[in-house]
Symmetry: D2
Subunit: 347 residues, 4 copies
């Protein structure tokens, strides 16, 4: 089988990561890549690290001829731009994996509340499948439209799913303190993103409310079987890649570290990409860098009763492009790790 | 006035920072610096950045002649080494500012429980004054022995003091998620501290329990007027300096962001080193780098009820050497900012 | 004495550094700061690290009322913007220290060749004094208009002056391989300057020709007493501050490392800010960070005959704002180190 | 075909990188890994990023049973330790790729001069093949013992080979200014390697003479057909991976940038891992990170006559483990890129 793919928005960080992974995927041929800024130019001008990938020419989004023969399109466009393109892709019988936030929230009112605009394709919200394979594997396999999860929600859902589904924790006091590398902010020119602003400059941001919150709440509520809220506080790390989420939880029962660890490990025992670390080891972002893996650590503080789950992912891989490839594999009945076998890059 | 000082343990990061600050303090003369590793050698071999400070020769700890005429000694020795030296210093009528953990805990049993050894000078524990000027200014001024606070506790106590003393928050659910630069781990050779292990490698550590916990609890309990516990989870940042503590709290009352901010601002209105930021601004570690300042930000999440206070300090300055100089100024009736006027270094 | 100063262009990195230094200079009062972007707003919004400096309100460049009573203006405007403002300042009897490149080249044709535009105030070029105190101290003291040197040229001129003036090296084979922190590229939003583009991404740039080349050649030619050329290759470091220049030279004579070192040390023996390191020690950018110091190291390779001189400065201090303050001190007959006593920040 | 391999010294950075690459090499089975420090423990304790590689147990070097059935051994031991092990491996009919410096110099006297010790297996020096495939492809294919090149020499030889072999440059004035990431210094605990010592702390080191110099001279002399010397000055970058070498050369002829570029491009036109960049693009270390690629850029400065060639590699891949795998592929008649197809990781 060869899957013909298009990548819309190929010159951002997520787009570049899709090209990196899909160029080496043995069942994939990249037919079409778009970029407004680099339209008419070779992709390697935007990404010199792709000098040794098969040569690709950037085309503008409006160049529909490039979509001829495409089986699946990866939309790595900004929020709002994506929902303007997806319906036409589906009409052309192209399956879509959308990496923006546009199809993650199933309720159009929630979308408007957090994104400040009316949804332009609300009729697709019910159909779109939330693309976290560990939770929605079979629905993804059948989907026409997959909404690839946000990077923060991926790290949080993988940490909390076993506990919420098992009913182990109080769903009313979920508190998540997350830290992200700066590539999550994208590749657009900005003063805030300059090296000199960020080196040695760890900070909290969007403490009043980050848009990934309703996405977490939607999926966590499904897991818990009730409507819940999460307090989510993100921070910005002086490093390019990686997300670490520290989840602070109130458990319903007194259990040992080992018992909590076994609960997580049992939940993920057949998962190719989620690894619960041995007691005493703690996740670090450079232990998953460049890979699709998620590492989890857990402990309970007997003195205060707080349960702590720590998760790490590479925000551009399991938090974006890698997860999208995992979803594509599911949609085309390939083994899930296909094209994602790379081990993390350390140091 | 000229204060004659000694610095015991001058070739670690805290020692070097004391030399940096005290070399430019107009009322101070550094008489004596010790280092076992560099004994007999000029200090600038250990710290080339001090090439342009007054020349100092390192002596071994046992060289007591160097203490002749010393008014105050800064002990920047490792834990346990410090309590072996302090009694003799006091006997020589030298006032002591101890930067180790040895005299911070007033209860010898707590010391043993967290540090694994019997205290060697328990008779001094009652006398030692916890050196956080914002809380214990008058006691510090009179003290023979000041226990300089830990870096994490400084960042947490400054964030929580106004709220606990005012009775505004539930003292039974204190949760602190802190992130520290790596200079806090000291200057001893280690694999874990290598650049290549840490670049891009944010991680949690000592999640099961960090020794700064009982120190926070001691001081927070005094503020609250009852015995409380805090859940404290530290993390390691890929940057040299800076601590940011995100304090997650349950308030007793529903109040606006502005009200919380005013509570903090009122508490610190006369403090030279603590600054509550305007609404919408959030603290960043590179906004206090190299200075003795603490920046605070606060907000409340109406959706979940969580109150969030974020504080930043430079762990080597307000979290160690700068605070020690502030304490010295108090002990010798100098204006508190004396020698600490430097503005932060950004970028 | 109190010197009243204005800072034009206060919200770039050089401007911020001027405020940091001048706020703590005991003989200076900052009367006026300009910023187009932050006009009408407090400077601390642009620079939260200046929260604890005296409060300053940004005004637009056109607000001439702010210049009333100003003794000296620091122009930290972009190239070309500066030469549009300087003549009017001088007419108002305000002395000017210009930190742009506009008045460094004494030949208007050279300016046009490298900067691509006609000079707008060529009549001032002969009067402007090149502001490297170690070479032009007495002229600076008398100057109405000082052209503050570029960061790269400062690092190179301090390394080569003793050798060229002494006639020790072949002036026809000067080769300089320099490496700069990214703050040198300024604070304007750009994709190239993003943290994620630069972390782990050391590179050469402007290898075909950098605009600091003719500035070096002008001053080196004066030192050598003949017209010379230098091959200058700059590189970009993944760090915010610091320049290190490795100068590769062909000496006229066979001399030992010690002899070369003594030549440099003798030349700078009375200089407050230039330090020749002991044999075996080599300059590092974090040993001068935040300070006005320059460190020099030298050795000769007997096998190949190459002489190597390495210099480091902080590009924003000795390479910009600190040197400007040093020049101001000279112009107002203050001791040169006034306001520049800060020791480097390490780590 | 399945090649059975052993990795001696698997818990250093080079060893870990060999495991990362060989775990995903389809024709390889890792039979045996050694580590003194982790003997008896799973390798993933030393390298948590290898949690998802096939499980491997570390054995001590003395455990010879582990070598049963091994076809080829990768020696990633320290200098001097390696030459003590290699002869016995060869006697067991195991082919050896040695990543230390022990078999790179073909002259035992040169080894003694630079490494300070007598060589322990001088009889093997004539047989050992210098493992730079671009220069010695056919000899490598036949070799029993391959001496894998040093990281600096790899970057320099690839930059200079086309020019020296073509007789284009003066072989008596070779000047190389190199900059390396810190992983090149290895994983042993040290104060010098601490994050806090290096962040923001670019520096030159071993300016008096680095041990990679004679290795470069040996291979460059072969290329030039005469005995030459090179002046090599290394520097240490605040980043984990990557080497950039700036080669400053005096050409014999006046040629344009395009002509120089074509000379390089023609030389490497059939090479899978060496890429000459288009004019105007310059190599950056993060454009080859994690990959076996080398990027080259070239220009000539008409004003001074200097020719500049810039090369970048990942010091742990093309500069060590990747090149070793490339050599293994040659030795076992596999396609050279086998197991080395990974594209660089950016950002």
């Amino acid at each position: 089988m060869t899957i013909s793919v298009a990548i819309l928005g190929a010159t951002g960080y997520t787009g570049g990561e899709l090209v990196r992974l899909l160029s080496r995927h043995q069942e994939v041929r990249i037919l079409h890549v778009t970029s407004e800024r680099y339209a008419g130019k070779p992709l390697r001008l935007a990404f010199p690290h792709l000098h040794n990938a098969p040569e690709l020419l950037c085309r503008p989004l409006g160049d529909l001829a490039g979509l001829e023969g495409v089986d699946v399109a990866f939309c790595a466009l900004p929020h709002k731009a994506s929902m303007a393109e997806v319906p036409a892709l589906l009409e052309r019988q192209i399956r879509v994996i959308d990496l923006s936030a546009d199809f993650r929230l199933q309720d159009a009112a929630t979308y408007r509340a957090w994104y400040g605009d009316d949804h332009r394709a609300p009729e697709l919200l019910a159909e779109a499948v939330y693309g976290l394979p560990e939770l929605h594997r079979s629905a993804i396999a059948q989907a026409r439209l997959v909404a690839n999860p946000g990077c923060y929600p991926t790290s949080v859902l993988l940490a909390l799913a076993p506990l919420l589904r098992g009913g182990w924790i109080d769903p009313q006091t979920l508190l998540v303190d997350s830290k992200s590398g700066v590539s999550g902010a994208g590749r657009a020119a900005s003063q805030e993103g300059l090296f000199a602003e960020l080196e040695g400059g760890f900070r909290a941001y969007k403490v009043e409310g980050h848009r990934h919150t309703p996405e977490m709440e939607q999926e966590l509520s499904k897991l818990a079987g009730l409507d819940l809220r999460v307090r989510f506080v993100p921070h910005l790390l002086p490093q390019s890649r990686g997300i670490l989420s520290t989840c602070h939880l109130r458990p319903h029962a007194v259990r040992s570290q080992r018992e909590w660890q076994e609960t997580l490990a049992a939940f993920y025992q057949h998962e190719p990409f989620v690894q619960v670390l041995d007691a005493g080891l703690w996740p670090a972002t450079n232990h998953v860098r460049g890979s699709n893996f998620c590492h989890l650590g857990v402990t309970v503080d007997a003195r205060t009763g707080w349960l702590t789950v720590v998760s790490v992912i590479d925000n551009l891989v399991k938090g974006a492009a890698g997860q999208a490839v995992q979803n594509m594999n599911l949609m085309f009945a390939l083994p899930e790790p296909c094209g994602l076998e790379q081990l993390p890059l350390f140091p």
